[in-house]
């Protein structure tokens, strides 16, 4: 009996052990909470939507590293605002590194589209917040489509195994519709402010967004002027009538940057010896004795050092040709120290050059400026469009004046009447002057067109996206051909130039059928030489 008791006793212990274990494991009620990251948000409420808009603005304009690989290494070189002085980057010799250029594509879809779509879903379509988000949607996407042509657009942000590409005419059509609708909504609202301090461009000022939207509409209208002249005229006239940028610097769009969020000014990270002023810019800015040169570029390190030792030594600015080979880069006059890097507002004073600011990462980044609106109107006026009643000459000179205001270089009156011509940059390749036109308004339409394009090209700095797009569209600025091409499709850079970025390899891997279908929308092979829809040159 005792033995039996002992056994029962043992089994009781055994059972209680199992029970203890069972009790221990049954506590799964807080498992979802354990699996939730307390340092992240699981759900958003209305008060958090403005943060999404901040993100869309910040990412839609590219900052820091993204700026370099999306813009600097591509369109900034193709617009000839900068030339590459690091031999291991081939993109200045017209070879597209697909790993880098994805930075102009991917963040728009992952960091702009989801944010804007959430705003579209959660706000009243009649609200100014909705309208401004719509304007920003167009801004973000026009840069993407102007790199690649057909892009995923109408189905962007929709889940699926593939996301189809849209043809560029359809995308532009949607751009115009969105901008027109946004203008109407913003004019109808009684509110004066939207997004407040979360609006990193205008800090909530709706009236500025109205001008921004219409200036963008004017830009896009001009873009299609060679391929759909009627629509271009209609949209351009409507945009001007609705009110575009008129006064720099008040109207100019610049986006706030910060030092602590990885969202610093993109141009400010170019202090590595990789990019320098171009010979094109040197030829024109020096020829015109243009005061913007000292804003756009720094004096060379060599002259800066010499000047420090003896102030009698003058500060000098120099540029190099695009597309140099490694051997050419090693020629003394092409070395980084003997050429000018990006200007003082993007250069830390600690670098020891003559000039700079204490914290260039926080320099507001240029998005779109008033000068461009005037140059667009000048070109429109030349085409006979109703651009508000002024003459092409007026708008041309207003463009220059506003650019001077934008960069704070004083009165442009004398400059606009300048008769000096671009000079030979005195570079290692003995380049001739870039062109032979003065600033002063010319007599022939051909000269006037080139003048508008050239001054617009200068004024657009440092917006390589727009600079390259406008170069492809108008082909009126007589940029130097790149010194060398490693691109097998460009055997003669004096007659050929890059037309587009080929579809991303990453897209063919993840969105293959859509890319395959998109090739038929191109009107040519999927390479760098097939012009976009609006490019008739």
């Amino acid at each position: 009996m005792k033995r039996l008791n002992s056994i029962t006793h043992h089994y009781k212990r055994f059972l209680s052990g199992i029970c203890a274990a069972a009790i221990m494991v049954s506590c799964t009620s807080d498992f979802d909470e354990i699996n939730t990251n307390p340092a992240a948000l699981s759900q958003l409420d209305a008060s958090q939507l403005p943060f999404l808009f901040s993100k869309a603005l910040s990412s839609g304009t590219n900052s820091q590293w993204n700026y370099q690989v999306s813009q600097n290494l591509f369109s900034d070189q193709y617009a000839q605002y900068f030339a590459c002085t690091a031999s291991s980057f081939g993109s200045d010799r017209l070879v597209i590194n697909q790993n880098w250029v994805g930075a102009a594509f991917n963040p728009i879809y992952t960091d702009v589209v989801p944010q804007l779509q959430t705003i579209f879903e959660e706000t009243d379509p009649a609200s100014p917040e909705y309208a401004i988000a719509n304007i920003w949607w167009v801004f973000a996407f026009h840069r993407v489509t102007d790199y690649w042509g057909p892009i995923p657009y109408s189905q962007a942000g929709v889940s699926g195994e593939t996301v189809p590409y849209d043809a560029q005419p359809a995308i532009y059509d949607d751009f115009f519709k969105r901008l027109a609708a946004a203008d109407a909504t913003l004019k109808a609202t009684s509110a004066t402010s939207a997004y407040g301090s979360y609006d990193l461009i205008y800090h909530g000022d709706i009236s500025k967004w109205i001008k921004f939207g219409n200036t963008l509409r004017l830009r896009l209208a001009m873009r299609i002027s060679n391929v759909d002249a009627n629509r271009a005229k209609t949209e351009a006239e409507a945009a001007v009538a609705a009110g575009v940028f008129t006064a720099s610097p008040d109207d100019d769009a610049l986006v706030d940057r910060s030092v602590n969020g990885g969202d610093g000014n993109g141009l400010s990270i170019m202090q590595w010896n990789e990019f320098r002023m171009t010979a094109s810019m040197e030829s024109v800015l020096k020829g015109y004795n243009d005061p913007r040169m000292a804003e756009y570029y720094m004096p060379t390190k060599a002259s800066s050092d010499a000047n420090k030792e003896d102030p009698a030594n003058p500060l000098e600015w120099h540029g190099v040709r695009n597309g140099l080979t490694a051997s050419q880069m090693n020629i003394a006059s092409n070395l980084p120290n003997n050429n000018s890097q990006q200007g003082p507002r993007w250069t830390p004073s600690s670098l020891g050059l003559a000039g700079g600011v204490s914290n260039p990462l926080t320099t507001r980044q240029n998005v779109m400026a008033t000068a461009e609106a005037y140059f667009l109107r000048a070109e429109g006026a030349l085409k006979g469009w109703n651009m508000g009643g002024g003459t092409a000459k007026q708008y041309y000179e207003d463009g220059i004046k506003n650019s001077f205001l934008q960069w704070g270089v004083g009165d442009a009156a004398a400059y606009t009447q300048g008769t000096s011509l671009p000079v030979a940059p005195g570079d290692a390749l003995n380049s001739p002057p870039m062109t032979n036109i003065p600033v002063q308004w010319g007599a022939s339409q051909a000269v006037q067109e080139e003048q508008i394009a050239t001054q617009k090209w200068i004024a657009l700095f440092p917006d390589g996206y727009e600079g390259w797009a406008d170069y492809r569209r108008s082909h009126k600025v007589k940029l130097y051909p790149p010194a060398n091409s490693d691109n097998p499709l460009i055997t003669d850079p004096s007659t050929q130039w890059l037309r587009r970025i080929p579809f991303l390899v990453s897209e063919t891997q993840t969105n293959g059928p859509a890319v395959e279908a998109a090739k038929s929308l191109l009107g040519g092979p999927d390479n760098t030489q097939t012009p976009l829809w609006w490019d008739t040159n």
């Binding site: 043992h10 052990g17 274990a21 221990m24 494991v25 799964t28 498992f31 979802d32 354990i34 699996n35 939730t36 990251n37 340092a39 992240a40 948000l41 699981s42 958003l44 403005p50 943060f51 999404l52 901040s54 993100k55 910040s58 690091a86 291991s88 081939g90 790993n99 991917n106 879809y109 992952t110 960091d111 589209v113 959430t118 892009i151 995923p152 962007a156 929709v158 889940s159 195994e161 593939t162 996301v163 979360y198 609006d199 986006v255 910060s258 030092v259 602590n260 969020g261 990885g262 969202d263 490694a326 020891g352 204490s358 914290n359 990462l361 490693d486 990453s506 897209e507 891997q509 969105n511």
Partner: protein, 1040 residues
């Protein structure tokens, strides 16, 4: 009565102690290496008198008289009989006896089991092999070559670097492939905070294993298959290293072990560089470039880049001299003592390591207290606390991004180390700024001494591990054990970059980052366990219970990109500090049961089952897994030829699961500091609400045989494992708004064989020769990844192939290396540019091999003669490739040895154009290595095939010579042993480059494939990694 007999014997044994007169004491040691043998049975022949030795190998026994004969026996060793006579101290040295095979191994949950009863493969490593020579970087590195099918890769981060230890091949694509490390029954936190994931490089930080103190280790067992460790579930799919640590002793005496060692190490293999041509380009001296395509160095006088007059002459040793002689000093003292009731172990270890990169040092203190108590007849406890404090300063970065090694390699061949050391100058406001530096790429590379002196990467770690175990012995066969184990790691990393540091200090004042990271692991388990003889023939050993595990990780990354006061590296000087916090928690709860049924101590059936609830999974959160196995000792069951002294067969099957990663089931939004009020953005990775557990199923068949009375032993194992339902992060069209998503998919198979041979060719009294050979081969096959997209490639690291990138894809095998190759036409001719005569690279990435070895081999010979012992370990690998990104980068600038040829004469590669027409154009070395965008080197982005090597290599891994210094029996020192050990002594064989370039030929491997950029899955490429080291050290071990 029969059942009472064992009790009676125990009782008699216990009582007998006080009744006898003459006391004999002594110490039992291993004849192999002189280490003390605990648990040895010492009995008086033909009596019931007996005892066992304590942890220090000591025993004390009372014998009736001088005629008594002591029988000293221990499983795995030959029994000795000694007549007492007049001796009062009898020290015994036991020799291993392979015929017995009653070795005890510590298995899952820390349970000791007799090896012969196991149904799965195990292999043990002697603790002395880890303590004789400490690898200053990580104790795991010392396992290389010693265990079949175990591959160890050293992380390239200097002392304390995380290591990668892979058993039986890689199976996880995005998770870890590292073996689980279990100490005293509980898996340790073996995470690595920072792992370089591409050839751009990064920071390889410490793992958890690098904190393991070899001096505390009593035994280490490798369980290669998951079956052995099914109870650990999730993490056990990669195999387990089971480590048991030292305990106190029961003999009422205090034993003091003192161990002191010093090791010196030098760079073993540095890049092969040319010493003929100096700084310059196009064959001419130039000080404005970093290239070494200059003139012949004939000692010309010239003005160098600093404006100093210098001699343009060869600096053939500047790389070797840059690395200093690393020195590591290790001192440890361990006290063991106690009596029947309480046993105590106290240990203190101090490591001071000077790495081979200047300013890279490590200091580590480790204190351990362990107390084991027999509180009552039925209750026993065991408790231990370990505290580790580790400081690493000046950890070198690895890879291309400003690693001091890469920066040094870039130095033009004519610049002396003395010149390089002039790295800094004062500017006009008294701030130290970098001097001019002829970098080959001024945005990335700078003076290595600037990196060493003006930037810091310091890591402090405090780690506290404690456990408490209590066992209640219900009766003689049934007990209950509960255990609580806490493991807290507190890391602080400080990274500072002075004003002027390229790449890192872009803002005024400099850059400072401080990371505080804490990991807390809680583990509680309770089990009822028993070992019961059910009948004459049947015996049941079982254990059932529950486990609770919770891992909480929190880190705060505080960054000051810009400091208001120059080079003041503390957060209060920050211009605008930003903080990123991340918090992750995983909790698992499980119930388990395992049982082994033995028949006649010769046939065993074993099974285990575990049901796990994991917080990472969707409700109801749980999944089951199990293992089952059988083993039979054929030599006991049947009469075999006398040459076969032991023969065992075993087979097992296991399915273990892994609950996946935390925080993947819900879509989240991140807040990020920035302009305005900061940003909120949606995670670009789509959540996976229906996350499923991963499953590794494995089958293993083993044969264990001993011949010729154990003089020859052999273990052979075949295994196959399939890893399914892996959690894969796959790219999706970014236009969906998500760049990636998770799926559960795939079937990755590993199968292979392992062969272990042990032989004692010679044994006669004083002289003994033991030979141990291990061989492992693994074949990996990716049976399926994504059923609807068989072409999908998974990158095992960065997708941006600078030199090469490891991938897996359906139908291939894990670790295929993709890179650009030299184009061939359909006839296999090399395609060259008809105008320039230079190679044309492929436009797409193609396979150049696989980073995994086809086979791993190790052979160790141990000779003992009286007090002397000599051990020689030779090991190697066959097959696999490694891509030398360092060489690729350096070749662009004319630095590597291969760029020396044909600079002045030129040669033709031959080859054909794209139409197949023969081409004959004369090129020179500079054209070949560095002309054009798609040139051979390409510098940072090149044609990797030219730099791909067969990684096959054999080397003298370890040579140790030991001497057991004789000490008088009544001396205060009880035993003394001195050993000298050397590692990485010499290459026996090195593979060559896979391309035989016309006119240039092949090149021998000039990196050590054991090194890796990091301990993650990004393997097969070296790029600016630290060199491996050759070391020699001596060690003195004293016992008091």
């Amino acid at each position: 009565m029969k059942k009472c007999l064992p009790k009676l014997i125990v009782l008699l044994l216990l009582c007998s102690a006080s009744a006898m007169a003459q006391t004999v004491t002594g110490r039992v040691t291993s004849g192999d290496d002189g280490s003390p043998l605990p648990g040895v049975s010492v009995i008086v022949k033909s009596s019931t008198i007996g005892t066992t030795t304590d942890a220090a190998g000591r025993y004390s026994i009372n014998v009736p008289d001088g005629n008594a004969v002591l029988v000293v026996s221990f499983i795995g060793f030959a029994t000795q009989e000694i007549t007492v006579g007049t001796q009062t101290t009898i020290d015994v040295s036991l020799n291993e006896d392979a015929t017995q095979l009653s070795e005890v191994v510590v298995t899952a949950l820390g349970v000791p089991r007799e090896a012969k009863t196991l149904v799965y493969a195990t292999q043990s490593v002697k603790a002395s092999e880890l303590t004789e020579l400490r690898d200053p970087n990580n104790v795991l590195n010392s396992l290389q070559g010693k265990v079949a099918n175990v591959q160890v890769n050293q992380g390239s981060g200097g002392p304390g670097s995380g290591a990668r230890i892979v058993l039986r091949g890689n199976r996880s694509i995005q998770g870890s492939n590292n073996a689980l490390i279990v100490i005293d029954g509980v898996p340790i936190n073996n995470s690595t905070r920072s792992i370089p994931g591409s050839d751009f490089g990064g920071i390889q930080s410490s793992d958890g294993a690098s904190n393991v103190n070899p001096d505390d280790i009593e035994s280490i067992t490798v369980l290669r298959g998951p079956s052995a460790a099914a109870l650990y579930g999730s993490q056990a799919g990669n195999g387990v290293l089971v480590i048991s640590t030292k305990k106190g002793t029961k003999d009422n005496k205090v034993t003091v072990n003192f161990n002191s060692g010093v090791t010196a190490e030098k760079a073993f293999q540095v890049p092969d560089v040319q010493n003929t041509y100096g700084q310059g380009i196009d064959g001419a001296l130039s000080t404005t470039v970093g290239d070494s395509w200059g003139a012949r160095m004939d000692g010309q006088s010239y003005t160098n880049h600093l404006g100093e007059s210098a001699s343009y002459s060869s600096q053939s040793n500047n790389i070797k001299d840059f690395f200093r002689t690393g020195v590591s000093v290790n001192n440890s003292i361990g006290l063991q003592g106690g009596g029947e009731k309480v046993q105590t172990y106290l240990g203190y270890t101090n490591n001071v390591v000077k790495g081979i990169v200047p300013n890279n040092d490590m200091v580590r203190h480790n204190i351990t207290l362990r107390m084991s108590s027999q509180i009552s007849k039925k209750i026993s406890t065991d408790a231990k606390v370990t505290y580790i404090h580790q400081e690493i300063t000046g950890r070198p970065r690895t890879g291309e991004e400003n690693s001091p090694a890469m920066d040094m390699y870039q130095t033009p061949r004519s610049i002396s180390l003395e010149t390089v050391k002039k790295y800094s100058t004062m500017n006009d406001v008294g701030l130290a700024i970098p001097t001019a530096w002829p970098a080959t790429l001024s945005s990335i590379y700078q003076n290595p001494y600037w990196m060493i002196h003006k930037t810091t990467l310091d890591e402090d770690r405090d780690r506290l591990i404690g456990f408490l175990t209590a066992t209640y012995q219900i009766n003689d066969w049934l007990g209950v054990t509960g255990r609580a184990n806490l493991d807290k790691t507190m890391d602080q990393t400080r990274n500072s970059n002075s004003v002027g540091t390229i790449l890192w200090a872009s803002q005024p004042g400099g850059y400072f980052q401080k990371i505080n990271g804490d990991i807390t692991q809680q583990w509680y388990d309770a089990a009822i366990h028993g070992d019961k003889k059910l009948s004459e023939d049947f015996r049941l050993n079982f254990r059932a219970g529950g486990i609770f595990q919770d891992i909480y990780m929190e880190s705060d990354v505080a960054t000051a990109n810009g400091l208001n006061v120059n080079n003041m590296f503390a957060l209060n000087f920050a211009t605008a500090p930003s903080v990123q916090t991340s918090i992750t928690q995983v909790r698992t709860q499980s119930v388990f049961a395992t049982a082994s049924l033995g028949w006649k101590e010769a046939l065993f059936l074993e099974g285990s089952f575990r049901n796990e609830w994991a917080s990472t999974l969707p409700s109801p959160y749980d999944f089951p897994y199990y293992s089952i196995g059988v083993s039979g000792i054929l030599s006991d069951l049947f009469t075999l030829p006398s040459a076969i002294s032991f023969l065992k067969l075993n087979a097992n099957y296991a399915e273990v699961g892994n609950g996946g990663q935390p925080q993947l089931r819900f879509q989240t939004y991140q807040y990020q500091q920035g302009a305005g009020n900061g940003f909120i953005s949606r995670s670009p990775t789509q959540a996976i609400p229906g996350l499923k557990p991963e499953v590794v199923s494995s089958f293993e068949l083993g044969l264990d045989a001993r011949f010729l009375e154990g003089r020859l032993g052999m273990t052979a194992t075949y295994y196959k494992s399939n890893s399914e339902n892996q959690l894969l992060q796959i790219s999706q069209p970014v236009a969906t708004g998500f760049s990636t998503k998770y799926v559960n998919a795939g079937n990755i198979q590993n199968q292979g064989i392992e062969l272990i041979l042990n032989a004692t060719p010679v044994t006669n009294g004083d002289f003994n020769w033991d030979l141990a050979f291990n061989f492992g081969l693994n074949r990996n096959k990716v049976i399926e990844l994504l059923p609807n997209n068989p072409d999908q490639i998974f990158y095992l690291g960065g997708t941006n192939a600078r030199s090469a990138v490891p991938i897996i894809k359906t139908g291939g095998s894990y670790g295929e290396m993709l890179s650009y190759k030299w184009q061939r036409d359909e006839n296999g001719n090399y395609v060259v540019n008809p105008t320039s005569g230079l190679p044309i690279g492929t436009t797409d990435l193609q396979s150049v091999g696989n980073f995994n070895p086809k086979a791993l081999l190790g052979l160790s010979n141990t000779f003992t003669y009286k007090g002397f012992s000599l051990r020689l370990l030779v090991d190697g690998r066959v097959g696999g490739v490694i891509v030398d990104g360092t060489e690729m980068n350096l070749a662009f600038n004319g630095i590597t040895k291969a760029t020396e040829a044909h600079r002045e004469d030129g040669w033709s590669l031959g080859g054909v154009d794209s139409e197949g027409n023969p081409v004959d154009v004369t090129i020179n070395a500079q054209d070949f290595w560095s002309a054009g965008q798609s040139s051979v080197s390409g510098k940072r982005y090149g044609v990797g095939e030219f730099f791909t090597y067969d990684a096959t290599n054999f080397r003298v891994r370890e040579l140790s010579v030991g001497y057991k210094i004789p000490v008088p029996s009544n001396f205060f020192i009880k035993s003394a042993r001195f050993s000298v050990v050397a590692r990485n002594l010499a290459w026996l064989y090195r593979g060559s480059s896979i391309l035989d370039i016309p006119g240039l030929g092949t090149r021998k491997l000039q990196i050590d494939p054991d090194m890796s950029l990091g301990n993650g899955n990004y393997q097969g490429v070296q790029y600016g990694s630290l060199p491996s080291t050759r070391s020699i050290g001596c060690n003195l071990s004293l016992t008091f």
